[in-house]
Symmetry: C2
Amino acid sequence: MTDGVAAAPRKLTAKGRATRARIVEAAAELVFAHGVARTGIDDVRRRAGVSASQLYHYFTDKDDLVRAVIAHQTDGILDAQQPLLDHLDSFEALERWRDLLVDLQEQRHCQGGCPIGSIAAELADDDPEARADLAAGFERWEAPIRAGLARMRDRGDLRPDTDTDALALALLAALQGGLVLTQTRRSAEPLRTALDAMIAHIRASAARP
Amino acid sequence: MTDGVAAAPRKLTAKGRATRARIVEAAAELVFAHGVARTGIDDVRRRAGVSASQLYHYFTDKDDLVRAVIAHQTDGILDAQQPLLDHLDSFEALERWRDLLVDLQEQRHCQGGCPIGSIAAELADDDPEARADLAAGFERWEAPIRAGLARMRDRGDLRPDTDTDALALALLAALQGGLVLTQTRRSAEPLRTALDAMIAHIRASAARP
DNA sequence: GAGATTCTGGAGTGTCAACTCCAATCCTGA
DNA sequence: TCAGGATTGGAGTTGACACTCCAGAATCTC
């Protein structure tokens, strides 16, 4: 109450850590599938195989759990896109990355948007703490994209005057928007088209066309 | 129950139409600000200045009201972007349209994403009827963009082999993604950057560069 | 102007979800 | 071995929310 820090249990046994992780994992899956509001504590409880008191032993309230979910999903995104994400410094790499994202959506039958983008659309206006966490999550995602494009420019693949920061931001936006449309239309086409267009636009900044 | 059509009152008095419109308007504002799940029937009721029985006189249930909100917001988007939207057939028009969208977000202090995109992110996976309505809404939005770009190509402003349908889709995706990031970051920069990038990409297809 | 229909008010009802409490275990470290 | 804290179970409690009901007022139709 007095401090802004989420009530973190002082010490956590290996067992405790495992239980906590199981809860976050279950919550993340349900939130991804149905959103925050439609995910009940009891659903999480059942899926994780824990009792109510355990859940409230590890998290002060639902908001606290949601913040843990945001962190978990951000980690998951970065993990799932490694090692590609850390080497987005060639057109081939960008295209492989695009293929990975499109394939993933097709495997999911275009259900579920972005693990953090969907939460952002739901909570950004109402939960300032969640918004800050989500902004930080996007930043962690954008940073390697930005770094890769900057390396391409520094290496001479892109013209020296290329605004690689803007390109990275626009690429992430195309990805987010592509996911929303893909989810609504139940077709991966919008995602592929949006990413293709943005990669083509980056190619237009190539030093030697 | 038996038919798929939403229970539409047979006849509506002018007064009845006004009351119904007031309810939809109030619901749309609240849904835009807080999302579907966080918008209570009672909140709508109070804001519209009607009693519970009136609300259920005009709508069978909350889902029915939400569908009316989706239709209302789609109309609102198209209205707000007229007459620009119907004449997106020059680079100047595209840029004026971009400015309109960016200015609008700044006026809102970057709160609230897309009036239908946010609903899509929330409901697409769980409510098939809402998903279909939202897909139709996006289509109504995309159509004039597509038409404008096609006119540019047919007129010779864009090269004859330009895939204007893909460009229109990518532009809408950039807009959606830009809005999500803008909402999260509380800055209009992502929206402007995303739209700028996509317009620059369209310009790359110009017949006389 | 009479009768039918639409429209409205407000007090309910039942359900469900978030959260609490307390006592019973399990585990860890000295 | 044996405290003491970490972990767990399960039955409450509380409030909010979607939705209902019925009777009366306003309005339209003929």
